[in-house]
């Protein structure tokens, strides 16, 4: 990957809050490269440092150590108003004393652009988010979803090199959130601007992103395409934070792993190390079969499209299988029945910790 393809980069970024022994590292040596034109999502639970990283990129905070680079230029010490980077705030932060159009034109006005250009761009941006009719309203007269669009238009109007979005959809109800997800993706494709999106919602991350950086405890745990993150989680945190999964203790034996029950599980991508490890396999990759690993049916929950079957292996390990429902919805399962299960080929992953 050439340097010219990188829009924004954090290099060994550390952000500590507080002094001395009481200091908390909100960001602990984070390095990440975000490509031009990419929809990149920082995903993690609250307090994982994702918003702090966003604020370092925007310039609202300066790193304790490390660098922020934009197009290969060190911008670590530039104030926010001198960075060609705009933010969509979680609270929207629309100016209540200005009209919708004035809000959208604010950035260009501050840059000293001619009045005609400011107004023309504001109109174009409002058309882009389908709010032309609201141009002369006060922002307090808009609904939450409309305010969200104004915030987007305002941040896009100055044509930033990178658009930062800090959990912008969290205040919207479910239906509106789904609509805005589609809308955001459309805007990103149409404008070609690099989006850095912060969320704690794994579904949002999976459906919208080109790549995801999963964060926990101030560190980036894994970076990859949604499919990589879901199917090949590198550690227990990533595996459990994104989707549901099963954890199985095992011992490595060459290209296979021996479960606590004594059964051998084939590995498609065996690690070079040996010893005890944790395997992970998604519930939808667990199948009931004629032969395989012996298990007892503990219980099941019917979800409509599928049924979650809770199984107990001989060594007591609990495994959840997600079975597609048949047309009648009948499971044909009996509690306490002895069954066998198999894992779909290539579905078993060895975790790094």
């Amino acid at each position: 990957m050439g340097v010219s393809e990188i829009a924004i980069e954090a290099r060994n970024a550390v952000k500590a809050f507080g002094q001395g022994a009481a200091a908390v590292r909100a960001l602990d040596d984070v390095s990440v490269q975000i490509r031009k034109g990419e929809f990149f999502t920082l995903l993690g639970p609250s307090g994982c440092g994702k918003t702090t990283l966003l604020r370092l990129i925007a310039g609202f905070e300066s790193p304790t150590s490390g660098q922020i680079l934009l197009d290969g230029q060190d911008i670590t010490n530039l104030p926010p108003n001198r960075r060609p980077v705009n933010t969509v705030f979680q609270s929207y932060a629309l100016f209540p004393h200005l009209t919708v159009a004035q809000n959208v034109g604010f950035g260009l006005q501050m840059q000293g652009k001619p009045k005609a250009e400011v107004e023309e761009t504001a109109r174009r941006m409002l058309a882009l988010v389908r709010l032309e009719a609201m141009a002369d309203r006060k922002t307090s007269q808009l609904s939450g979803g409309q305010q969200q669009r104004v915030a987007l238009a305002r941040a896009l109007a100055p044509k930033p090199k990178v658009l930062l979005l800090d959990e912008p959809l969290s205040a919207l109800d479910l239906k509106l959130r789904k609509e805005m997800q589609v809308e955001l993706k459309r805007l990103q494709t149409e404008t070609g601007i690099t989006f850095v999106f912060v969320t704690h919602d794994q579904e949002e991350a999976l459906t919208m992103s080109d790549r995801i950086g999963v964060m926990s405890a101030g560190k980036i745990q894994q970076i990859g395409a949604p499919r990589d993150i879901y199917t090949r989680p590198v550690n227990r945190f990533v595996a459990s934070f994104i989707g549901e999964t099963n954890f199985l203790p095992a011992t490595l034996q060459g290209a296979a792993a021996r479960l606590g029950t004594g059964d051998l599980v084939e590995l498609t991508d065996p690690p070079t190390r040996s010893g005890t490890v944790t395997l992970t396999v998604r519930p939808e990759q667990v199948r009931l079969a004629e032969s395989g690993i012996a298990a007892t049916i503990a219980s099941w929950v019917y979800f409509g499209t599928d049924t979650h079957v809770h199984l107990a292996l001989r060594d007591g390990t609990e495994v959840v299988a997600r079975l597609q429902s048949n047309p009648s919805g009948e499971t044909g399962l009996t509690q306490g029945a002895e069954v066998h299960l198999r894992f779909a080929p290539g579905a078993v992953q060895v975790l790094g910790d």
Partner: protein
């Protein structure tokens, strides 16, 4: 009543005390205003309706010059103190809490806590020394004194407004290429305007009303309206004083109503 919560209005005698309190507060003012329209020369014996005393006050050169002096001092002092108070409010709210913040808060609000008579005597002595040194006897001393004690009154509403203001608006402005000055000019100041106006009006009324400090600080021939009226008390009192008071009351009511409307409008 099923509701067991404490209701002060149900204490025996509550209504009586409440009515008495209102009578004590408002009856004297009503009387004062009423006797301003008295045709006779007494402030206690009613002799019919007349605007005579308003006319007398209007034609009285001493009243006129005292009024103008009062307005000049109040305008200057409220303008300067509001500017200072705005800076003080910005300095004490627009940043993370720092060591000594409470101390600074107390310092700014000192005039609210120290007895006014103490400040008055202190100023008289202090300015007395300066008057001897410089020979300057002008209105500057009064304006300076009024500015000083008006600061906390201007400061409080501005600070209250600032504390209710979302800091992320200023962050958003800086994100949208506004320099510090532009952020202040285009975001902070317009949003703060109602607070600043409210502070200025409160300061204006406080200055207009002041007797104690003015009485001690003023030089000869520098009567303000309140000190002029105090001087009149030493002679035979006529309803002229009532008329002046009524005018002052009217002005104050207008300003305080405006203050109330401005602070309430902020939703």
């Amino acid at each position: 009543m099923a509701d067991a919560s404490f209701q002060p209005s149900r204490i025996p005698g509550f209504a009586t005390v409440a009515v008495l309190a209102f009578v004590c507060l408002y009856l004297p003012i009503f009387t004062l205003v009423a006797y301003a329209f008295n045709a006779g020369t007494s402030i206690a014996v009613w002799e019919g309706v007349s605007l005579h005393w308003f006319a007398r006050a209007w034609e009285n050169e001493a009243v006129k010059s005292a009024t103008l002096r009062s307005l000049l001092i109040a305008t200057t002092a409220s303008a300067v103190s509001t500017a200072v108070a705005t800076l003080a409010a910005l300095g004490t709210t627009r940043r993370a809490a720092y060591h000594g913040q409470t101390f600074i808060y107390v310092l700014i609000n000192q005039p609210l806590m120290v007895p006014e008579i103490v400040t008055a005597v202190a100023l008289m002595i202090f300015f007395g020394v300066i008057k001897q040194w410089t020979g300057y006897q002008g209105l500057g001393y009064l304006i300076l004194a009024h500015t000083a004690f008006c600061i906390p009154f201007a400061y409080l509403p501005i600070r209250a407004r600032l504390e209710g203001m979302d800091l992320s608006l200023e962050t958003a402005a800086s994100d949208l290429y506004a320099s510090n000055w532009q952020t202040f000019r285009h975001v902070t100041l317009p949003l703060l305007a109602p607070g600043i106006l409210a502070g200025a009006m409160l300061a204006f009324v406080i200055s207009l009303d002041d007797v104690v400090i003015t009485e001690f600080v003023k030089s000869g021939g520098q009567d303000t309206l309140p000190t002029y009226m105090l001087g009149q008390m030493r002679r035979a009192i006529t309803p002229e004083v009532n008329a002046i008071s009524t005018g002052l009351l009217g002005l104050t009511v207008i300003l305080l109503t405006a203050f109330f409307l401005l602070t309430r409008k902020k939703g």
